[in-house]
Amino acid sequence: MKIAVPIKFVPDLVEELTIDSNGAALDTSWLRFIINEFDDHAIEQAILLKERAGAEVTVICAEGDGVDDILFATAAKGADSLVKLTGDFGGGINSHAAARALADLFKESKPDLILTGVQGHNDLDGSVGALLAEYLGMPFVGYVAGVALSDGKAVIRKEYPGGIIAEMEIKLPAVLGIQAAEQPPRYVAYSKINQIMKTAKIEDRALANLDFNGGATVSRMFKPKAASQATMIQGSPDEVAERVFGLLKEHGVM
């Protein structure tokens, strides 16, 4: 059983986001990048499957600041192979280009199961998994929160809005968009990561001729304007209560 987990890095919201002078993208000069949270869950799910049924887990990520550390951390959790995609993509890779590049890679390595975060918080379009499945001719299920493997099949739990969960069976190979792993991503001691850095190898794969076709073009990026400000009600508790009561009455709530 070969499991591949393509992950990506997204802007860290701990830093304030600013829009660049062209007004159609984030200013990347001060941005800090972290692993996309859903991808972290995809890694956890892959490791859980490996522990349960045995599998060879490969984690793939495009190069960037902090990527090596995250790849080594996944190795410390139990990933078997680490792949870093290299190339000239300073301007970012859209989902279409990423899916095409990954599809080429997977046609070669032939994984039985591809787990990826259901979406990234930077674009929220959730298209990598679906596009990848299309290019590879595999079935795709998104919003997955649980996977069990048996005899070339996967039984998966898919989350629907409104608290409904469906259990479905698909044939492998398949692509799953992970919403949440069955347990929160595990903590791995820093000393273990340090240790594995000495032995684990990251395989570089050069990406040439990325095809960005099909992606959306951002025409304008801006911060939403605050609609209206809240009013703070001053006074003694009784006066405040009186005023709140009056307002609720005025708006027909009471």
Binding site: Y187, V188, A189
Partner: protein, 401 residues
């Protein structure tokens, strides 16, 4: 001691036990009398399935697995009371409790809250998960401007290691500003590392994440090397402990003082500046890593006594027998976990002790404490009138700055 007929995994016990003997004074564990003093003096001992003495018992019996199967080690706040009172002088905190936590972390058994603090420390260099770029934001608006060494590159006399909570915690920023004003009033030529400062890492170390501690220490060590200063001072007893007792073993060695020691030496200069009377009974809380671990008891008391109007009173637990605020050894990041287990808070216990002295002010000298004790004054009945003040805040108030 629980009686186990079939020892679980004697080899693990044996390997772990002998690894403890290799630590500084660790061989003293062999001399444990099983007297139970450690478990009795431990502020959370009565909630632990395996308090320190019992852990030593499991090691001797070859059933240490029993300990790591429970999560009772996470009640340990590394306050060092066990180590201070052990009649055999076993370094229980350093050579046993911290090591058990390390084992738990290696096994991946880490409470979720603690994981977040560790991940933040790794990613941002502070356990709060704040942007490192904002580490000196507390100084905005202060005049004269606080000297951030990376910007000015000026040699200074004193490097002030500000620390995590003093830099970022909204309650603590007031105390941090007060101390900056005091340094200016005394004409001290000081600087800070600002964005280049990382967490001192001591609480992460005591919570069992030695790897992160070493990583943070190395980063701080590199930053120290870049600038010229004569000594380091810090408002954080945990940073003080790390810089004084732990960093030298990693080759990072500078003279270091807690701010209360530093100010105490300048008492003659300070006294004439303390003009405003603060008429109040003041109970002083000894922080574990300033008092019990590093023996600094008098400097904070001398400073408080120098303030006109202050009447210093002592609480039931004082000096080497001081009671932990609950924030040490990872306790700062285990509030939910410990509350779930114990339904008591050490900070509330301490606030009750302060009230018993009829103190109007609870004075502190560690950035973990004001938020913890202030929260406790809100939950302990009738404690709302007790004010929690950092010594630097009281000094600045008396100086009228």
């Amino acid at each position: 001691m629980e009686i186990t007929l079939s020892p679980l995994s004697p080899s693990i016990s044996k390997t772990f036990y002998s690894s403890l003997h290799e630590l500084k004074d660790g061989e003293r564990i062999r001399k444990c009398l099983q007297c139970g003093t450690c478990s009795g003096v431990c502020p959370f001992g009565y909630f632990m399935k395996y308090p320190p003495g019992k852990i030593i018992g499991t090691l001797r019996a070859g059933v240490f697995d029993l300990v790591t199967k429970t999560d009772s080690i996470w009640m340990c706040v590394s306050c060092s009371a066990c180590s201070a009172f052990c009649p055999t002088q076993i370094p229980i905190t350093a050579a046993l409790m911290t090591r058990v936590k390390e084992e738990m972390i290696l096994e991946g058994k880490v409470p979720a809250e603690l994981q977040t603090a560790f991940k933040n420390s790794q990613q941002y260099g502070n356990p709060l998960g704040e942007s490192p770029r904002k580490r000196a934001d507390w100084a905005a608006g202060l005049r004269p401007e606080v000297n951030i060494l990376g910007k000015t590159r000026q040699p200074v006399d004193v490097l002030w290691f500000v620390g995590d909570y003093a830099s970022y915690h909204p309650r603590m920023v007031a105390a941090t500003k007060a101390f900056a004003k005091i340094l200016n009033a005394l004409g001290i030529k000081f600087g800070i590392l600002g964005p280049e400062e990382n967490s001192d890492g001591d609480s992460q170390r005591l919570a069992g994440e030695r790897g992160i501690f070493e990583m943070l220490a190395r980063k701080n060590g590199l930053a120290f090397k870049k600038y010229q200063f004569k000594e380091i001072i810090t408002t954080d007893p945990h940073a003080y402990n790390a810089l004084k007792n732990e960093y030298p073993a990693l080759g990072i060695s500078y003279p270091v003082q807690h701010f209360t020691e530093f100010l105490c030496q300048r008492q003659e200069q300070i006294k004439p500046l303390l003009k405003k009377e603060i008429k109040a009974k003041v109970a002083y809380h000894d922080p574990c890593y300033l008092g019990r671990v590093n023996g600094v008891y008098d400097a904070p008391r001398e400073l408080l006594s120098a303030i006109p109007g202050v009447e210093l009173v002592e609480m039931a637990h004082t000096h080497s027998n001081s009671l932990c605020c609950g924030g040490g050894g990872g306790g700062m990041w285990l509030d939910g976990f410990q509350w779930e287990k114990a339904h008591v808070r050490l900070s509330e216990w301490r606030v009750k002790e302060a009230m018993a002295t009829n103190a109007e002010i609870l004075a502190v000298a560690c950035p973990y404490e004001p938020p913890r004790f202030e929260d406790a004054t809100k939950t302990v009945p009738n404690a709302g009138g007790l004010k929690v003040r950092e010594i630097a805040e009281l000094l600045a108030e008396s100086m009228g700055i």
